[in-house]
């Protein structure tokens, strides 16, 4: 299957101070690299999850893909067409086929519009006028399982879950090929969270849409995503199939992140890898491997040399950046078996 979206070596920089201040304080480089050489691709009908903690740059990537944030370098190509460097007018036609859902379910709906006009906003923006707005709104509401009379409501009259459904419906209005969902379950209760994820999964199966999920919620990732990429300080440190990463994380950060997911079972036996400290500031990126300041396996080389990506021998789709990757469990078992027999 061909890639709907392919991101290559994407770089996004933010200015940290005005050029005058940079000049007076003698700062040569008044920028931070919020996204630093990120590459991934999403195939048709596939779900990729970008996972990371706050400040890892995952939302910035989404905003750059959709065009809310200029890229500093690299390439974002959608269905073979390079999007970086396109003018707003040229980009517009691609925004019909690629839509984004924002974090705040209610806050991402214009507060003074009815649900019906919110749902038909994409038609107006893209000049699709040969459709009856009432019928279209009804079709979309039915698609996401809301009653037709919701069309008359205003966003503040919706619960979080209902507002999220409206957001999903609007994202689907123009039959996109790709939906970017930024924390689709943020602020929703667990019972409602399931509804929204089931809805996305069903619509994906029916319509064959590719989904890019941006989240910190690993439970969402495990059930929704085919592949996942773990981000740390604006870089992808590990990428691969969800199963492979959950079963055999190779990067120590992934391992820690996976274990930092409290299980609702008081008797769960945890081999928790608790990482010390906090994410370093992007203003002062550590040298070498950027995780070395918090990594329990860090050696001298980690402080000096930035690790190149390496792939699993049996699974080229699973790659990671680490000098001392964790052993795969099968390997560990083999090693310990060998030790016992000895």
């Amino acid at each position: 299957m061909s890639a709907v979206l392919s991101v290559e070596d994407l770089r996004v920089r933010f200015r940290t101070m005005g050029s005058l201040k940079a000049l007076t304080t003698g700062t040569a480089d008044p920028f931070i690299d919020a996204v630093c050489g990120v590459s991934f691709e999403i195939r048709k009908g596939e779900t990729l999850a970008l996972v990371g903690e706050s400040g890892s740059g995952k939302s910035t990537i989404a905003r750059t893909i959709i065009g809310l944030q200029p890229a500093f370098g690299g390439s974002v190509s959608f269905d073979g067409q390079e999007l970086i460097g396109l003018k707003a007018a040229e980009r517009k036609s691609y925004l019909r086929r690629m839509t984004m859902m924002f974090q705040d379910p209610v806050g991402s709906l214009s507060p003074r519009m009815t649900v019906q006009s919110l749902l038909t906003e994409p038609f107006r923006i893209h000049g699709v006028s040969n459709r009856d707005p009432g019928a279209e709104a009804e079709r979309l509401l039915r698609m996401v399982g809301l009653p037709a009379d919701f069309g008359r409501r205003y966003p503040h009259q919706l619960s979080g879950g209902q507002a999220r459904r409206v957001g999903v419906a609007r994202a689907l209005a123009l039959n996109p090929d790709l939906i970017i969902a930024d924390e689709p379950t943020a602020g929703l209760d667990v019972s409602v969270q399931g509804e929204v994820l089931n809805l996305l999964a069903r619509l994906q199966d029916e319509l064959g849409i590719a989904i890019l999920i941006i989240t910190h919620n690993l439970n969402v990732v495990r059930h929704m995503a085919d592949r996942m990429a773990i981000m740390y300080l604006g870089r992808v440190v590990e990428i691969g199939s969800t199963e492979s990463i959950f079963d055999h994380p190779r990067h120590p950060y992934t391992e820690a992140l996976l274990s930092a997911n409290p299980v609702p079972d008081p008797d769960a036996v945890l081999n928790r890898i608790e990482i010390k400290g906090e994410v370093p500031s992007m203003l002062r990126r550590p040298t070498g491997c950027e995780f070395h300041t918090r990594c329990q396996y860090a050696q001298d080389i980690c402080r000096r040399v930035f690790p190149a990506p390496s792939a699993n021998p049996d699974d080229a789709g699973h790659s990671f950046r680490c000098h001392f990757p964790l052993q795969q469990k099968s390997q560990q078992a083999a090693d310990s078996a060998a030790a016992i027999s000895r």
Binding site: S191, N219, A260
Partner: protein, 338 residues
Amino acid sequence: MRREDPTPPMSAHPLLEVRNLNLDFGSPRGRVHALRNVSLDVPTGQIVGIVGESGSGKSTLAYTVMGLLPENAQVTAGSIVFERRDLLTLTAQARRSLMGDRLSMIFQDPMTALNPVRTIESQMIDIQHHEQRGRSEKRARAIDMLKRVGIPDPQSRIGNYPHQFSGGMRQRICIAMALLVRPSLLIADEPTTALDATLEVQIIHLLKDLQREIGCSILFVSHHLGVVAELCDRVAVMYAGEVVEQGAVRDIFHTPGHPYTRALLECDPGRIKQRTRNLPTIPGEVPSMLGSKKGCIFHPRCPHAFDRCVYETPGEYRVAADQVARCHLLDRAGMVAT
């Protein structure tokens, strides 16, 4: 690894005893019954979790115990007995002297809980106003507490302002401030919700360690079942302003007695080991809290509801030695009403 020590036996008098608490909010559309017949015990030296979804009244309960309610709130019935004194009948002054001394609280957003224009040092010294100590001694205690909550280099960082710390560090500072007064009860309202997963785990462990060390009780409000399972000794499950089930954490998570508790646990994707594209949900919506309710509050969404659930409000039935739930099904199963 955890909880190798059995739950300590309940003493004759729990530290905090909430009995039949009813609380209304006045609103333009009528009275909102935010808490109905809430009864809850916090035994000495234990961590009690309150779980529930948004609108369940779990934060309202915490704020009521702390006495931090908006003007339109009104307690219509019940008592909150803390260290054998009813907080609801205390004078404002007597209550104030308890707060920040025997009772302290940490909030969801650590930034709004700290005064942004004062240094950590002055805020941490001020909070010790109940104690007869010199300023330098208070400062030394503050530094010591900052060290214990894991603030690196507390000697110099104590002079900093709240915005100079990261979110996780700020929550650590809030915990340090709350524990500095050696409270017997710490109320924590979603203290890890605003934090990342790795920090959340750090804060939970910190709370657990400090609780063991200081021996205080904690009332821990959260919507995160995993965190509650890991941290708490006892759990109360709230739904639409009522405590529908409470008991020891193991009983609640392993043998939930109330259909809502069961549904809530089933919904948590963290419990579902097998990858699925069809996650369980609770059909229906949380009922409006306006007006009086007849019958079981959960019956419109309950898969097992029968006639009695519609017209009769269920009382508490014992499910296990230390577990009660409000559900008529338990009566049918031959349980004895308490």
